[in-house]
């Protein structure tokens, strides 16, 4: 293309006309004025950079000691109850020692310890394999508090996360969960889930943001301690300093954040 003075003047003229149209465009097609709004942490929110939990299993002797905690959790989060094991949804449940800690295979162990009920839940790993498996980032490690969060809005129900989780901490909604809930007993403040999504414990992130401890911790009468693993002065760190603890399948390198005093 040949350039000439005449051509340059023409282009400059067109550009000037274009610029002068800007106020018109603004007046006709104004972007909605958003005002200055923002989202923040609430004034009462508990702040921690890696939440962690220590369960004192010595305080849970029988199934009757753990049942109220499970009920508190499942009530708070509208976790449905289906009697068919294939449709079961679990956030917090109890299991046998050898299922919880299959890598501890010593023969002749303390009978009392072997037959306690062990509370198990999502470990909110520091190195979570489920997060790496999720194709939509529906499950992710939240930077602000270290919780492994499920964003139900993004879950496509592929169940890769369930295959990846070595703790079986995730459940799939094969049925509409509302069929497994009694309407009068639901917590109307918390959403249910729907058929076709995966769910699990959320470390009560909705309660933490209101300044409340997780429901199971509240119901445990001190047998479960919850706090910030990164804060050396926190209650969990004190309990970890003073007691010998174990974690589930720690050899896998997932770095679980739920500790057990045995």
């Amino acid at each position: 293309m040949e350039s000439s003075r005449r051509r340059f003047m023409k282009m400059a003229g067109i550009a000037a006309v274009g610029l002068s149209a800007q106020p018109v465009i603004k007046a006709v097609a104004a972007a909605p004025t958003n005002g200055t709004h923002s989202l923040q942490k609430g004034p009462k929110a508990l702040i921690g950079s890696q939440w962690a939990m220590v369960i004192d299993t010595r305080r849970f002797k029988t199934e009757r000691d753990v049942a109220p905690l499970i009920e508190a959790c499942h009530k708070t989060h509208n976790v449905p109850h289906f009697s068919d094991r294939r449709h079961e949804i679990k956030w917090l449940w109890e299991t046998h020692f050898h299922n919880a800690f299959p890598d501890i295979v010593n023969p002749h162990m303390s009978e009392e310890a072997e037959h306690r009920p062990y509370l198990v839940l999502c470990n909110h790993c520091e190195n979570p394999p489920c997060v790496r498996a999720c194709p939509t980032k529906a499950t992710f490690k939240r930077q602000s508090d270290g919780i492994v969060v499920m964003d139900m809005h993004r879950c496509i129900g592929c169940r890769f996360c369930m295959a990846a989780c070595p703790y079986g901490a995730r459940s799939f909604n094969f049925r509409d969960p509302r069929q497994g809930l009694v309407e009068k007993e639901m917590n109307p403040q918390y959403p249910t889930r729907m058929k076709g999504v995966v769910e699990k414990c959320n470390f009560c992130s909705e309660r933490l943001s209101e300044g409340l401890m997780p429901a199971c911790v509240e119901a445990s009468k001190g047998a479960i301690v919850f706090g910030d693993l990164r804060d050396p002065n926190s209650e969990v760190r004190r309990v970890l300093r003073e007691n010998f603890t174990i974690r589930r399948k720690s050899g896998l390198g997932t770095e679980p954040c739920v500790y057990y005093i045995v």
Partner: protein, 133 residues
């Protein structure tokens, strides 16, 4: 070019049929278009007088606002909304929006039915945050 009159006739018939809905509405059934719905405000909303954002913004942008709320609340853990006047609200669909607009059927649904949108939020979110029903 002997077919000219057939082509023109065909075109006229085609155009007549194609625009049938338009002139049918205009000539045969004038004034029967569904009127824009009146949304009903609850007493609680009336007492508050103001929505979380200016009404004009809410009319056009409440879905974007809700999207932002759930994104920030779920993914960043920032669950408190501060509006331009500095008022704070919990960023929650059921517990905030439906606290004032507890008459979902006469408010959200009435408008959504009119514009034919069916948000799937209620598959999970409960529309009765106080458990009154």
């Amino acid at each position: 070019m002997n077919d000219k009159k057939w082509i023109v006739l065909g075109l006229v018939i085609f155009l007549g049929l194609f625009t049938f809905p338009l002139w049918y509405n205009l000539l045969v059934r004038p004034g029967t278009a569904a009127p824009a719905p009146e949304v009903v405000l609850t007493d609680k909303a009336k007492a508050a007088r103001q929505c979380v954002m200016p009404t004009e913004f809410m009319k056009t942008d409440h879905m974007q606002l809700l999207d932002e709320w759930r994104l920030k609340m779920v993914r960043e853990g920032t669950g408190t909304f501060v509006n331009p006047e500095g008022k704070m609200f919990a960023a929650s669909l059921s517990n905030t929006c439906l606290d004032c607009h507890s008459n979902k059927a006469e408010f959200c649904d009435r408008c959504h039915d009119y514009v034919s949108v069916a948000p799937y939020c209620w598959d999970c979110h409960l529309d009765n945050p106080k458990g009154e029903r």
